[in-house]
């Protein structure tokens, strides 16, 4: 089974304003992009499960020219709040690395 980390040259996460987290998932070429960017494994439900967000609010935008897909979700807890563990959301991508693509 192919994992996200096997078919991507780079993945990053970052806050997009105080209320949103955004992932940039760069595939390792046009072939991987075509094959996996719309994989159901990367659906809104995955983000609801991994990050406790509302699946209906997850935004997914593929960028074909860059062979990447951008996925964003609203934070489940406030930035800098009582339970903050990652102010800039810079480490959130790690949970995606071992997601198995279908």
């Amino acid at each position: 089974m192919v994992k996200v980390r096997d078919v991507c040259r780079h993945i990053r996460s970052k806050q997009a304003g105080p209320y949103w987290v955004t992932f940039d998932i760069f595939f390792d070429g046009p072939e991987s992009y075509r094959k996996y960017h719309a994989s159901t494994a990367l659906s809104s439900d995955l983000f609801a499960r991994l990050y406790g967000t509302n699946a209906d609010m997850v935004k997914t935008i593929p960028v074909e020219d860059l062979c990447m897909v951008k996925i964003s979700y609203p934070r489940a807890t406030p930035q800098g709040g009582m339970e903050e563990r990652d102010m800039h959301s810079g480490q959130q991508y790690v949970r995606l690395l071992d997601v198995e693509l279908i």
């Binding site: 970052k14 997009a16 209320y19 935008i61 860059l66 951008k70 609203p74 800098g80 563990r85």
Partner: protein, 472 residues
């Protein structure tokens, strides 16, 4: 665009954020290439709400003064204006005044008297309540409608400016414009727009250059030079060790946005769906096809306020019994700490409180269970965080928990272990939690409706400074 701009309108973006480290040789390169203005932001919401709530800068004063000195020397030499957005990290009035004082100090040291404009975009609560009552404020997802209590919870509220206040200050003859809260692209786009550049390329150039050399490959440099023309814009790193490529430039549109094609800005949308990126020389990329779609004028409102208080303790743990079952230990200890707190502090004193344990070296960042079979780490740093209505109560909780946090055994049958405290006193009062409370947009009739332009009289400022020194 008149003849002076036959080669395009050139803006030096000296760094990603004022105070990050401007390089003199890069400024010299930009000036030699005929730059017409210098523009940079000085902050954003990225590092959290504390900087707006407290009116403090994240960058230290020395670093900001150093950067401003280099830029103001360039201004003194060439007369080109300096535009700064989101002064002092958050762009509130206190942040703006902090930056103004540094500019005044540098001007005195350099013996220059530039005309300085301050763009205030901080809003008093009555104004925000009036606008809200008039139905002119709407929420942005994921927040809901604004109520008065939320406005009252804020320590400071700012409206995020577009290009127009900068254009107004330039029109009135400003040499240095210190903006309150401003969108990053706006501060870079404002000079070209003032000089008649098309809005699509000017705004897209502003977005591209917002983090300085981050839109280049290789990061051995701080800034970029933007050249806005009638048919598009070019971006070139200020350091000749760096180069821009179509990929590095187009990829920057992804940064800190949820939509890489359409950016909502005050008064319109930057639409780059049709943009094309071409390598125009070894280090420069030319971008054409960027569009600006005018919309009814709105500004984003950001409001931040302080909440409850926290106290920290940190121990290092290498005890093999703990490391053999970190999750089990976490759960047992956390339950014991809650019980200990409730049994030692009266409920009416304690109020609503919270304790968390974060196992650094295990799952502190995610807080999630690790896959079964994950091998034990060689050690963990266990962070204790208590949260309560006052600093005193947060401290009292830490004091109550201290013995357990120090000695709690993984195996109750064994003798008490002692974990590795790093500090004495063991507890660290952390202060308040700061959160953004507002993420709404307000409709305005005019881009300057919520902005006040103040001019700094450098002669007067110096006189009052002298008086303070004389009395101090």
């Amino acid at each position: 665009m008149n003849d002076r701009f036959a080669e395009g309108i050139k803006v030096i973006v000296p760094c990603g954020s004022l105070g990050a480290g401007v390089r003199e040789e890069e400024i010299a390169y930009g000036l030699a290439r005929g730059a017409h203005a210098i523009a940079s932001d000085a902050g954003s919401t990225d590092s959290g709400a504390a900087y707006l709530a407290l009116g403090k800068s994240k960058n230290n004063r020395g670093a900001v003064k150093r950067d401003l000195t280099i830029l103001m020397k360039a201004h003194a030499k060439t007369g080109i204006p300096i535009l700064i957005g989101t002064s002092g990290q958050a762009g509130g009035d206190l942040n703006l005044e902090w930056t103004r004082d540094i500019v005044v100090e540098v001007a005195a040291e350099l013996g220059i008297s530039p005309k300085v404009a301050l763009l205030h975009s901080e809003q008093d609560k009555e104004t925000v309540k009036r606008l809200n009552a008039a139905g002119r404020i709407r929420p942005l997802p994921p927040l809901g409608a604004l109520d008065e209590a939320t406005i009252d919870e804020c320590d400071h509220i700012v409206a995020v400016m577009g290009v127009e206040p900068f254009v107004a200050a330039l029109e009135a003859g400003a040499d240095i414009v210190l903006g309150g809260r401003t969108t990053d692209p706006a501060v870079l786009a404002s000079y070209p727009i003032w000089k008649g550049a098309p809005w699509g390329p000017a705004w897209h150039a502003g977005k591209t250059g917002e983090c300085g050399a981050q839109c280049a490959e290789g990061r051995d440099g701080a800034g970029v030079l933007l050249t806005v023309r009638s048919d598009g814009f070019e971006v070139e790193p200020l350091s000749d060790h760096n180069r821009c490529s179509p990929h590095s430039v187009s990829a920057h549109m992804l940064y800190e946005n949820t939509d890489p094609y359409r950016l909502t800005e005050p008064g319109g949308i930057v639409n780059v769906t049709q943009a094309s990126y071409v390598q125009s020389d070894q280090r420069t990329v030319k971008v054409t096809g960027s569009q600006w779609e005018p919309k009814p004028y709105t500004m984003k409102l950001e409001g931040a306020g302080g909440g409850r208080f926290q106290t920290l303790m940190l121990v290092g743990v290498q005890d093999p019994d703990v490391l053999a079952d970190v999750d089990g230990f976490h759960d047992k200890l956390l339950a014991a700490l809650y019980e200990r707190t409730r049994s030692t502090i009266p409920a009416d004193e304690l109020g609503d409180f919270h304790i968390s344990l974060r196992m650094y070296g295990w799952n502190a960042v995610s807080g999630r269970p690790l896959p079964e079979g994950t091998p034990p780490p060689p050690e963990i740093g266990m962070l204790f965080v208590s949260t309560a209505a006052t600093q005193e109560v947060a401290n009292a909780i830490a004091h109550a928990c201290n013995p357990y946090f120090f000695h709690y055994p993984a195996d109750m049958e064994k003798e008490l272990p002692s974990y590795g405290f790093a500090f004495t006193p063991a507890d660290v009062p952390r202060g308040r939690i700061y959160e953004f409370k507002l993420n709404h947009v307000v409709e305005v009739d005019d881009p300057l409706e919520l902005v006040r332009i103040e001019w700094v009289d450098l002669g007067e400022a110096r006189k009052s400074e002298t008086r303070e020194v004389a009395h101090g």
